[in-house]
Structure formats: structure tokens, C-alpha cells
């Protein structure tokens, strides 16, 4: 069996506003558009991935929050409706997706062998979190690839950013090893925004772009700094600065997804491609791609 591989890793933020703005048939609400910079960024990402062959999407979302270890969905078919508890007016999405339970268990087992607390989620009534759904939909709206859904262990809440990173670095290494041993080609998604200070009011309509901007100048500076590090392949520096970033930018990377991704990509020194940046209710969002498939060529 050929070795499995990661064909690309992406920073793929999950604001439900993006799905809302595109009015896919699965989502009930309707809009007049909005957040085009980001939606067109996702369009560029999809175009970039169009000719890449892969079997599975592996996604880590901060909106499946677990405190007792890291969890993996272990149910092959997930069909239900996802309603965002924070923005239910924007996101009521009927989903019907397939889980690659075999790969999920392989990553689970590998992480467990490295001493991590892990658990398979095998309850058929479980609802997939909206972060996972938004990121996967924006990257692959055809929904024709199975996914591996990984929870966000909130070790930062219990300990520190440093402990979170140690765990996510290990989870990333375990993910890469399990993928390699699986023989599958995988696309990895870190489903998180960058700076994460929300506005506490909503415009009417929500897609009124005349009101959309970054929450503060400090948030903008942090976002640009992180993006620039990604663009220059300074992954290790990014990991090193993550504690300050999480604290000062209230960054959603505190959920571990970005650290996990960089670790799975072996802390790449190759530059990432910026497909788009924009703000959503004040939070900073970047769509980035590390095109691993091209690095060996």
C-alpha cells in the first residue's frame, strides 16, 4: 500500500455568515450577499484545490468543545440539521455527510498510543457542530468527500496556551502518522478565525457591509502579523508567538486547530498562499493554503 499523504492544509474559518451569504439550498435563511472578500477567497481556494486528488477532509473545529480529552466522530453517516446557537437567524443547515470512521479511529489510536486522552463519539444522535459544517461546505460544497471530525480539546481553559500547544503538536504528529499509514490522501482544515473580538450588536440586515470592519486597530495589527508569518513560512515563529496572540487578540486559535494543522504539516517553512482576508462582525478571518502536494515537485 502506498503511503498516505496530506495534499494540502488550509486555514478555513467558519463564520456562518459566509454560508448565509451564499444561500445554498441546504440553508434556510436568505441574504443579499455580503462578505464577498472572504467568499471570493474561498472561491480561489476551491479553484486551487480543484485539480488535486484527495480522499478525505480532516477538520478540527473549535465549536465541538470537549474538556475530557480529544474526541472523534465514529458514526459513518451523519444526517440532521445544524442550527447555530449564537446566530440561528443565519444558519439552519440540513446536512448529510459521511465520516471516514476508519481514518478517525486510526488517528484516535495513534494519539492514544502517544499518551493523549482520546475518545470515539459513537452516539448516532450526535449533531455535528456548525464550525465543521461551515468550513467543509465552503471548501467542498459538493459534499462528496468523507470527513474526519476532530473536537477541540479546551486544554487552554484548564492549563495554558503552552499546554494546549504541546497537546496539539502531538495530535498533529499523530494525525500525520495515521494518515501516512492509512494510504489515503487527505486535505486538512483548521476551522478557526484569527483575532476574535466580536461586535455585540448586529446590523439590520446582517449583511450590511457599510458597518463591517475589524474590531480594533490592535486586532488588525495582530492579524496582519500572523498572516505575514504564514506567507513567509515562519510557522515555528507563529507557534512561538501563539500565547501572546491568543491572549491579546482573543484569538480563536486558542482552540488548537491552527497549531494542530502546522504540526501535521511538519511546521512548514514553505510559504502559505493567502486566498482572502476579511472581517465578520469585527473578527479577523484569513483563508490560507499550504499546498503540500507541490512541495516535492
Amino acid at each position: 500500500m502506498a503511503k498516505g499523504s496530506i495534499v494540502a492544509g488550509c486555514l478555513a474559518p467558519h463564520p456562518p455568515h459566509l454560508v448565509y451569504a451564499e444561500n445554498p439550498e441546504q440553508n434556510e435563511p436568505v441574504s443579499e450577499g455580503g462578505w464577498e472578500q472572504l467568499r471570493w477567497g474561498y472561491e480561489r481556494l476551491r479553484e486551487s484545490l480543484k485539480n488535486i486528488d484527495y480522499d478525505v477532509i480532516v477538520v478540527l473545529s473549535p465549536h465541538w468543545q470537549t474538556y475530557v480529552g480529544t474526541h472523534f466522530i465514529g458514526v459513518e453517516k451523519c444526517t440532521s440539521k445544524s442550527v447555530d446557537p449564537v446566530f440561528p437567524n443565519l444558519f439552519r443547515f440540513n446536512y448529510d455527510l459521511n465520516i471516514d470512521v476508519e481514518l478517525a479511529r486510526a488517528i484516535h489510536d495513534q494519539a492514544e498510543s502517544q499518551g493523549m486522552a482520546v475518545k470515539m463519539m459513537e452516539n448516532p444522535d450526535f449533531r455535528v457542530d456548525y464550525g465543521t459544517i461551515v468550513s467543509c461546505h465552503m471548501v467542498r460544497p459538493e459534499w462528496d468527500k468523507p470527513i474526519v471530525s476532530i473536537s477541540s480539546n479546551r486544554s487552554l481553559s484548564y492549563y495554558s496556551v503552552e499546554v494546549m500547544q504541546e497537546m496539539m503538536l502531538e495530535l498533529g504528529r499523530s494525525t500525520a502518522k495515521a494518515i501516512e499509514e492509512s494510504g489515503k490522501k487527505c486535505l486538512l482544515l483548521a476551522s478557526n478565525s484569527l483575532s476574535h473580538r466580536h461586535f455585540v450588536t448586529e446590523t439590520n440586515p446582517p449583511e450590511d457591509m457599510s458597518k463591517e470592519h475589524i474590531a480594533s486597530h490592535a486586532m488588525h495589527l495582530w492579524d496582519m502579523r500572523m498572516i505575514e508569518m504564514m506567507r513567509q513560512g515562519k510557522s515555528q515563529q507563529l507557534i512561538d508567538e501563539m500565547p501572546e496572540f491568543c491572549e491579546q487578540a482573543i484569538a480563536e486559535a486558542d482552540g488548537g486547530a491552527l497549531t494542530w494543522l502546522l504540526s501535521a504539516l511538519d511546521v512548514p517553512e514553505q510559504p502559505a498562499i493567502l486566498h482572502g482576508y476579511g472581517t465578520i462582525i469585527g473578527t479577523g478571518n484569513a483563508i490560507m493554503e499550504w499546498p503540500c502536494h507541490s512541495w516535492e515537485e
Binding site: G69, V83, F87, E202
Partner: protein, 461 residues
């Protein structure tokens, strides 16, 4: 029609008491306590349950569930292996919309939600499943805003009170929350469960001691400290005590009872019942701005041996009530300021000495004294004082084997008729006014202690 909070509850959010109480004796005791709380609600005349859930975070202000019948299947993010909870809830959507309007009127960001498939949070599902299993009483569920501070959370409760009064609801207010919320970060066997650390346990015990003494506002004012000491920094701070205290008028003299305290996967889970009946104590030593029932100087550093200490600013020397034939005295009423009993029985009638709002024990004055020790006027709350008077009357009557509903005549004394009659009259209407005794209200120049109202009562035994 008079709406009010008739009972308050603090209950845990974890699904274990619903899905697997039999696996751990402590989880079973939490379940039993939940069942006892349910029985108390069923025996009351409650017609609405209001849930403030820390497990439903919101960003755009507060969100209030307004779907008349939200239903789905709830699976816990962590404890999915314990099973699923199928829920079908009965929501008082009229109240939800009214609360939302009241929030907006008080300057809050707020909205209702009513969407098929909305994921009602695990805490609300667990609480309603156990407290109201057959939807006998409609419910309302409100989110916890991740950014709200104490003031905002207090105003949220005051807006809720506006609607409770306007609609005449008898409300059970429920905060769904853990005490210490640090769980074990790895799976454990049920028999291995314990409070995560000694420090968490000690703080939990202290919180429960306060609550069992009815000191809810003190816990509210300790919330930031509690959050720092024993709360993992998840999405929301230790806010529910702010909300629950404000729902109870920021009082410290509730009647509290801890029905159970146990660990659930390391976190502190407790079922606590707080009833609005005064337990006879006054405010304690903590204070923050915007406290409705500020009691003046709390005498924190005093030894407390001399109740007539000037620092209490509660007036002249106090006496033990005179004992004699047919006298009725109780240590649940404030000490007299002269040589007389609390009451005297003649035949089947009780004659009470003039009763003011001073509190037994610490002699504090709910609503604050009307002047300081130098005679400078102070702002005070006539409604709080009047409520305290009625509570003191009730305690004396109870000691004599009587009760408020046997009061037949009242003479009231106000030191400032123009300022206070309206507020006094409002409380009267909510209390003795419902009984219907004859009443005479007089304006007088002063009373012996720095209080604004006193009542002279005749009642049947």
C-alpha cells in the same frame, strides 16, 4: 394580581443525573435532590419556570427562547456515551417576547429565537427534564452573554421582574450551573468521582454555607473572586449569581437549603433551594454599587457584643422584651427600644407594640436609615423598610400562634408622608392589603430609631 419570584433554584447542568444516576451514589443523590426540588415546585402555585443557563452562551446581547415547543434530541459534547435526551419543551413565548421588549426598553441588546431544530443547551434540557418532566408549567430560557458584566446581568433580571409583575406570574427562577467547574480532563470510572481538588471543595462548601444562610447577594458580590478561585475560564464567568440575586431583590435574608452537593466528573454539583421568606437576618458585610437593599454600615469590624453601638446608627439603647403575664416575645423580632413586650394577648386578641423595620440580631435597617449618626439625612428605600416591618409583624404573630391573615386593625406611622406614602402603600397592597384589615396612616415628626415607618397592630389569635 401580583407577580413575584416564589422560589429560586441552583442546579447542576451535567447529564449524569438524567442518564445514569445509578452508576454513582453521589449522582443518585443529585437526582434525588432534583426530584425533591420538583416536588416543591409542584406543591407551589408556580406558573412559570425561568432558566438562566450558563451553557447557552450568546454574543449579540441576550437571547430568549420563544419557540412554543422546541424539540429535538440532545447529546452532550463530552458525555455522548451516556446516551441521548429526547426533549419536547413547553415555552411561554408570550413571556419571552415581553421580556425581550423589557430588555430593549432598559437599554439591553436582546432578541428572541424560535427556530426548528434550535439546539437547546444541555443545562436547560437537564434542568427542565428533571424539574418539569411533563411540561406541567411553561418555561422560559435565557442565554448567558459572554461579554456581559454585573450591571448588564442585573438589568437583565430587572427587566425580567418588570414582566413578572406586569403579567402577575408566580415564578421559579433557576440558575443552571456548576459551583467549581473543573472537571477531570481524562475519563474516570464512576466510582472514582470526587471534587477535583481540596481547594475547590473548600470554596464550594463556603458558597453553600452562604446560600444555606440565604446570603445570595453576598455570593453575587463574591462572584468575581469565586470565578478567579475555582472556575476554569470557559465562555462565561460566574454570572448566574448576579442574575439570581437581582431576581430576588439583591437580598441576603432568603431562606436557603442545600438539598445535595456532590461531584460530577470532578465539578461541584449542588441543588440549592432559596425561598423568599426572610430568615430573620439582615445584610452582611459585602457591598457593591446598585444594591437595592443597602443596609448602611454593616458593623464589619465591631465585636458585635453591643447592639447599641453608635456605628450601627440604629438609634437608642436596646432592651430585652419585658416578660410578664400574657406577653409574647421572640428573638426573631428586633429588640424593643424601651421596657415593653413585643405583644400581649388579651382573650383571643393580640396587641402588638409598634413594629419597625430593624432586623433582629444586627439591628440593621433594610432600605437604609433615614439619617446618619450626625443627623444628616440619607436616602432610603421606603418599600424595603415597609416590607421589613411586615416581616417583623409576621414573626411576632407566628410566635403567638397567629399569622398575617388574622390581622384586623393597623395604625401606621410615617415620618415623611409626602415622600413615602406611595411606596408604603404599594407594599401594603402586596401584603396586608390582601388580608384586608382596617388601617389608619398618620404622619409624625420622628420615631425613636432612624426609620421611616412603624405599624401598630391588633390581630386575632
Amino acid at each position: 394580581m401580583s407577580g413575584e419570584v416564589i422560589k429560586s433554584l441552583i442546579v447542576p447542568a451535567h447529564p449524569h443525573p438524567v442518564l445514569c444516576p445509578e452508576k454513582n451514589e453521589g449522582w443518585q443523590r443529585i437526582r434525588d435532590a432534583y426530584d425533591e426540588a420538583r416536588r416543591q415546585i409542584e406543591e407551589s402555585d408556580a406558573d412559570l419556570i425561568i432558566i438562566y443557563s450558563t451553557l447557552w452562551p450568546s454574543v449579540i446581547g441576550h437571547q430568549i427562547q420563544a419557540d412554543p415547543n422546541p424539540k429535538w434530541v440532545m447529546v452532550d459534547a463530552d458525555f455522548h456515551d451516556l446516551g441521548s435526551i429526547h426533549y419536547s419543551l413547553r415555552i411561554d413565548s408570550d413571556f419571552s417576547h415581553a421580556w425581550n421588549k423589557a430588555n430593549l426598553a432598559r437599554g439591553l441588546e436582546s432578541r428572541t429565537v424560535a427556530y426548528e431544530g434550535f439546539p437547546v443547551d444541555v443545562g436547560s434540557v437537564v434542568a427542565l427534564e428533571l424539574l418539569n418532566p411533563n411540561n406541567r408549567i411553561p418555561a422560559v430560557i435565557c442565554s448567558t452573554n459572554v461579554y456581559s458584566n454585573r450591571a448588564e446581568t442585573t438589568v437583565l433580571a430587572k427587566a425580567c421582574q418588570d414582566v413578572i409583575k406586569a403579567q402577575g406570574k408566580k415564578v421559579v427562577a433557576v440558575s443552571v450551573m456548576s459551583l467549581s467547574n473543573r472537571m477531570f480532563t481524562e475519563p474516570i470510572e464512576p466510582h472514582e468521582d470526587r471534587i477535583h481538588s481540596l481547594k475547590d471543595d473548600e470554596w464550594n462548601q463556603k458558597i453553600l454555607e452562604f446560600l444555606s444562610e440565604g446570603r445570595l447577594e453576598d455570593i453575587g458580590q463574591l462572584s468575581r473572586t469565586i470565578h478567579d478561585q475555582i472556575r476554569v475560564k470557559k465562555v462565561v464567568a460566574f454570572k448566574p449569581m448576579w442574575w439570581l440575586s437581582a431576581m430576588n431583590g439583591n437580598r441576603n435574608d432568603l431562606t436557603g437549603k442545600v438539598l445535595a452537593y456532590e461531584p460530577i466528573h470532578g465539578a461541584g454539583a449542588a441543588v440549592v433551594v432559596l425561598d423568599p421568606e426572610s430568615n430573620g437576618t439582615g445584610d452582611k458585610e459585602y457591598d457593591e454599587d446598585d444594591v437595592d437593599f443597602y443596609g448602611g454600615d454593616r458593623n464589619v469590624l465591631d465585636s458585635g457584643e453591643d447592639d447599641s453601638s453608635p456605628s450601627t446608627n440604629s438609634g437608642p439603647k436596646l432592651y430585652d422584651p419585658v416578660e410578664g403575664k400574657n406577653t409574647v416575645n421572640t428573638n426573631k423580632a428586633p429588640k424593643p427600644v424601651g421596657a415593653y413586650p413585643h405583644a400581649r394577648r388579651e382573650g383571643d386578641l393580640l396587641y402588638l407594640s409598634g413594629v419597625g423595620p430593624r432586623q433582629p440580631g444586627d439591628n440593621s435597617i433594610p432600605g437604609g436609615p433615614i439619617k446618619d449618626s450626625n443627623g444628616n439625612p440619607l436616602d432610603y428605600d421606603i418599600k424595603a423598610q415597609t416590607k421589613a416591618v411586615v416581616n417583623n409583624i409576621a414573626r411576632i404573630l407566628e410566635e403567638a400562634g397567629s399569622s398575617l391573615d388574622k390581622v384586623i386593625d393597623v395604625t401606621s406611622f410615617l415620618v415623611d408622608m409626602d415622600r413615602d406614602f406611595s411606596g408604603y402603600n404599594e407594599v401594603w397592597a402586596e401584603t396586608l392589603g390582601k388580608v384586608g384589615p382596617t388601617r389608619t396612616t398618620l404622619a409624625i415628626r420622628a420615631l425613636p430609631t432612624p426609620i421611616a415607618v412603624e405599624m401598630k397592630v391588633i390581630a386575632k389569635v
